[in-house]
Amino acid sequence: MTAVLDTRGVTKTFAGVQALSDVSLLVEPGERVGLIGPNGAGKTTFFNCVLGVLRAERGQVLLDGEDVSALPVHERARRGIGRTFQRIELFGESTVRDHLLIAERVRRGDGRLWRDLLGRGRPSADEVAACDRVLEQLGLAELAEEPIEHLSLGQGRLVEVGRALMTRPRLLLLDEPSSGLDRRETADLAATLRAVQQAQGFAILLVEHDVELVANFTSRSYVLDFGTLIAEGPTDEVLASSLVREAYLGPGGGPG
């Protein structure tokens, strides 16, 4: 079976400092994988390299076995990477459903230019139906017509997830989904995500600082520290390892 995401030796330097050195990780289809590490470990940089926001100096990013290292962000998105943002990025001045509709339309591909320009204005019935199915799954059905400005942060994150799901991703990258949410909201979000993921079977790579969420949500984890992978394996074992504790807590930080 080909891995959904396969990065090989990704290396990135900022002003002489190695932000990532030789990071290689695998995400299998349908898997939920965590990527954790202390502040400044390079998690966000790695994310950006996978998405194409940053170009790695060395190393490759393979998506379903295809090398996408040279492709721009939107081409990678069309090949099956969906994502959410740590600071939510919504479109403003539109409704919840509009967010999903535009993603659905992009997925269906560009038409003739003049048709895209003038025709195809109103969303078709099946476009709306496709969006509403996802909204239903995420528990957002009642908010479909709501202007985006009226949403809470937690709901906003779900809209981001919904928007990403409309592209039918093979891999969903979640960027610190718990940031800005309190404990209960985080748990709700995790439950919804898990349900949708199990129903649709895409893989998830979760970058997260909340260790509890990672422990509850993922089966396997990678740990980054100083731009290097220092541990990988089943999440429970990874979290129990003294190396990881030291990365988080400093030398001698963990008991035992």
């Binding site: 502040n39 404990r183 985080t186 260790v211 930080g253």
Partner: protein
């Protein structure tokens, strides 16, 4: 005795983002408090609220008994709060000497600047060798030393030290903590924000743990080591 710093029921964030949900925190006169927690728990935001960089949406901030809620950061600085911010906390385009001069002139008056410069360079010989070099060319450790040199000479009532050990070699971390201990012994109160707990625990009188933007645990450093690891890693159910 009035605490040097007091946050009462502070909620704060960045635009739609709430980072703190009703945090209450005191730093007593001469006390050293360690602020611990996983990243994203809101430690840096607490530090920023305490130095006026982030205005609370709710709650109050008192420095030395004076209500500074919503005041500009320069008023916090004049009330005696020094803040060594997370990451780079020196002006990288100014030289080492200019960095110090800028702060000394304001805090001590122009007459005492040269004397203060002398003191700072005596304490940090490595900075003396680089006094005319732009601070941006210093190594990470030297930059932290520079921000400490300023504080050491001015000896303000409160120093907020945000992640001073981040990304540094252990030997330099030891030196930084030695300087912090010296400051503390000279009477400066400390609010130490750390992710790496071990050093902080050795220095502080009291530990405050943050989780999801709220104070989760407060207590003596002796019990903290266990608690920290527990809270971060042994998350059984609702912790």
């Amino acid at each position: 005795m009035t605490p040097v710093l007091e946050l009462r029921d502070v909620s704060a964030g960045y635009g739609p983002f709430r980072a703190l949900f009703g945090v209450t925190l005191q730093v007593g006169d001469g006390e050293a408090v360690a602020l611990l927690g996983a990243n994203g728990a809101g430690k840096t935001t607490v530090a920023r609220v305490a130095s006026g960089l982030v205005a609370p949406e709710d709650g109050t901030v008192h420095v030395g008994g004076e209500d500074l809620t919503g005041a500009a950061p320069y008023r916090f600085a004049r009330a005696g709060v020094a803040h060594a911010t997370e990451g780079r906390s020196v002006f990288s385009s100014l030289t080492v000497e200019e960095n110090l001069r800028l702060s000394f002139r304001r805090a001590l008056g122009s007459a005492r600047v040269d004397e203060a410069l002398g003191q700072a360079f005596d304490a940090f010989a490595s900075l003396d060798r680089r006094r005319h070099q732009p601070a941006g060319t210093l190594s990470g450790g030297e930059q932290r030393m520079l921000s400490l040199a300023r504080v050491l000479v001015e000896s303000p009532p409160l120093l907020i030290a945000d992640e001073l050990s981040l990304g540094l070699a252990p030997i330099i971390v030891d030196e930084i903590y030695a300087q912090l201990a010296r400051l503390h012994s000279e009477g400066t109160s400390l609010l130490i924000v750390e992710q790496h707990v071990s050093h902080a625990l050795g220095l502080c009188d009291r530990v405050v743990m943050l989780e999801h933007g709220a104070v989760a645990w407060e207590g003596a450093p002796e019990q903290a080591g266990e608690r920290v690891a527990e809270r971060i890693f042994e998350h059984g159910g609702d912790g």
